[in-house]
């Protein structure tokens, strides 16, 4: 029910944006997120973006997971 999928913004118009999800384009509402730009990745649930995905945070989390796994030795 709370399934949400990431998609890349290809155009923005008012409170709607067109996103590309693995090649499929779909219009979504961006009424719940601030300052959306072309190229941003949105997390979309029930036709509505609920968050802008933060790339740097994704990179930091991956690094943390590698540390947890012991794949990185400081």
């Amino acid at each position: 029910m709370c399934l949400a999928i990431p998609g890349e913004v290809t155009s923005v118009s008012g409170d709607r944006a067109v996103i590309d999800i693995t090649g499929i384009r779909r219009e979504v509402s961006i009424a719940l997120v601030d300052r959306v730009n072309v190229g941003d990745y949105l997390l979309v649930h029930a036709g509505c973006a609920i968050a802008i995905i933060d790339k740097q945070e994704a990179v930091d989390t991956l690094e943390l997971l590698h540390q947890l796994a012991g794949n990185i030795h400081d």
Binding site: M1, C2, S29, C48, D54
Partner: protein
């Protein structure tokens, strides 16, 4: 960005995390996932089978359809039989049985029941059919509620007075308090829901961890996310700590999404709610505020449906939702209760615990 996201499914990383988890040699622990999408991911990736015997995963009440009480379905069935009415619903509500009847069987009898992907789609149906009342069956947690709130606000702004919702919306924090404090539910750690947290934030889990001494992690839905969170919780238990890690910070901020939270608060107010299997939890529901009461389809029911939850004979959904027993402990599971012929709600939705166990194990 996609390449970063794909790395959360990286095999080498997952293997490293599994090896580290298998080094856990402490007391036996139970870790509860509180999100149906996590339940499904754990089953799909076979994560339970990768864990050592002293680490048990149990599924909590994280599937909105599964915790919807029977009187809600009875009400929805009553509404779909009204004259000039269209019922719009998410797909997984269609097959929940109530005394042998479901929305699907009613649709087969000719009632106008339509599956929608978003509450916003039911607004379009209302615009196309000004002569009919369109009722959206509003189930879901904080991920879905802001979208419903936008739909109600849009209907109010546009004077769309043939659109209504029947709210069974619920909020996660009150249920978390109940599960944390229930002595019958022996939980040593939590995997917190990723997308609910994108809206409500990760901050309140700190309070829970402090109050009950139970560690947890907010996590995403890929194998590395889930395995990393299990590992984090195990390390906390080993070190006798109870803190919360946010391992899904790419979408979850400590304060969540303030716009989405604002929309929920603008349209809804807290109310008591009955959860299937958990009973009534004070302040865990959401009902439309007075200002938007014209959109409230509960007004059409007029209290003609008693607010009770009846479980089908022999069904153990209630105990399963509390993590007190596994689907295989229910004598109906896999015999007369299957995804094709569901008896209880945990078998109906694809993210229900029983359906996930049946499909992947």
């Amino acid at each position: 960005m996609i390449s970063e996201l794909e790395q959360f499914r990286n095999e080498t990383l997952a293997e490293g995390l599994v090896k580290a988890i298998r080094r856990y040699d402490g007391r036996p622990v139970s870790i509860m996932e509180v999100c149906g999408t996590h339940t499904m991911a754990i089953s799909r990736y076979g994560i339970r089978e990768l864990l050592p015997p002293n680490v048990r995963l149990i599924s909590g009440p994280g599937c909105p359809v599964c915790v919807t009480p029977s009187f809600y379905l009875k009400s929805a069935l009553e509404l779909c039989r009204r004259e000039n009415t269209i019922v719009a619903t998410f797909g997984d509500m269609m097959r929940i049985p109530y005394k042998g009847v479901s929305l699907l069987t009613e649709k087969a009898l000719g009632r106008d029941i339509r599956m929608v992907y978003s509450p916003l789609d039911s607004l379009d149906i209302a615009r196309q059919h000004p002569d009919k009342t369109v009722i959206f069956l509003s189930v879901g947690f904080e991920t879905t509620v802001p979208v419903t709130a936008i739909a109600v606000l849009e209907a109010a702004q546009q004077g769309l007075d043939n659109f209504m919702i029947l709210s069974a919306n619920k909020t996660i924090p009150a249920a978390m308090h109940l599960l944390s404090s229930d002595p019958e539910v022996a939980v040593d750690g939590f995997l917190y829901p990723g997308h609910v947290s994108a809206v409500i934030g990760s901050g309140l889990y700190e309070e829970l961890a402090k109050a009950y001494g139970i560690p947890g992690a907010v996590t995403g839905f890929d194998p590395a996310d889930i395995l990393g969170s299990i590992l984090y919780v195990l390390e906390q238990i080993r070190d006798k700590k109870a803190t919360v890690a946010n391992l899904y910070s790419m979408v979850v901020q400590p304060g969540g999404n303030p716009i989405a939270r604002g929309k929920i608060d603008e349209v809804f107010e807290p109310s008591d709610a009955v959860w299937r299997g958990l009973g009534q939890i004070p302040g865990s529901g959401l009902r439309l505020r007075e200002k938007y009461r014209a959109f409230d389809a509960w007004g059409l029911i007029n209290g003609s449906v008693e607010e009770r939850d009846e479980e089908a004979g022999g069904c153990r959904c209630g105990d399963i939702l509390k993590g007190k027993c596994l689907p295989s402990d229910c004598k109906l599971f896999g015999k007369i209760c299957t995804p094709e012929t569901p008896v209880g709600s945990c078998m109906v939705s694809s993210e229900g615990t029983c359906a996930a166990y049946y499909r992947y194990q």
